[in-house]
Amino acid sequence: MIDKVKKELEIRFPLLKLVREQHNYLHVKVERVSAMDAIVMARTSLGHSVLQLISTVDRIEDDVFQMTWILENYSACTVLLISADYPRENCIVPSLCQIWPAASAFEREIFEMFGISFPGNPREGEDFLLEGWKDTPPMRRDFETEEYAMRVYGERQPREHLDPRQYIGDIVGEWNTPMGRKREEEK
């Protein structure tokens, strides 16, 4: 079944690269101009009509975002992954909301986490996971997570002594419970 999908895609997109193939799984990489055509073709004529996930990888070494659309065919039990690279600066990826309304949630999440814009998504820019985020999008690899956490949330100063009595005195602790007091007296 997946062989037929592969053949059809290779005829239509000659520049297609095969990433990985198994008996019911196919991962292909297409040029970014033909990514939307490949997705529409997979949905309309190849039977992969369920959008399972849109995932993004920040490949900062190549200066690209690798977008992957995971499409599933439930009747044939096959999975098709279509990938494409988009440049990192002012990244714009076409929205799939017209085809799958459910793509809206994935795209809003990617917009918050990576700063990738999806023109055509009617709910773009609405709060999804982060509320009122003003810094660099946190899943980008040029975002300094630890530096941000130290700057915003601060750090608890480590203790100089290991004896908790130095810090909390006799307020709390087992030496202040009836059992503890008895033990102290026995000493």
């Binding site: 509320e131 997570t145 130290m150 915003v152 949330y153 601060g154 608890r156 419970t177």
Partner: protein, 187 residues
Amino acid sequence: MYCNQPPEKPGNKKELLEKITNMARANSLWVTAYGTGCGAIELRPLHTSRFDMERFGIAMRPTPRQADVLIISGYLATKTLKRVIRVYEQMQDPKYIVALGSCTINGGMYFDSYNTLNVLDKYLPVDVYVMGCMPRPEAIIDGFSLLMQKIKDGRAQGWKHYKENLDYYRENQKKIITDWDLPDYNW
């Protein structure tokens, strides 16, 4: 509906009454059924038959208006902190906070997360910390017995501390919650 003045401190005549009411308060702790992180999973065995916290007079309540203990169970994201503040401020006086796990003490394994706060007592007054990742139900029962002892001795005054130092807590809260839309606190 709002009062402008903080409540008056009890005079000498009220102190005896306060001691008696503290005895009663310590023996009927009602907990808001609100789990913030992974630690909430340890509360299920605690309030079902195996560990059975009702034998200590601790019961779960469905609404913050009826409860006087708020359990911060595990890591706290900034988005959750906003809801926690709202729940805490809706609770009736006196109210106590029990914080579970190393995440509330110093960030735990999420110390460098972009979205999880490190030191809880900058934002809310904590009466008892229970250490562990996650604390077992026995440890939580131990923490509750400590809280009972503190209430009986009149030392669980976190709610008064919150009122008296509201500016300090608000400043810290607003530092990390960038889209502040909570109503002003009323006494």
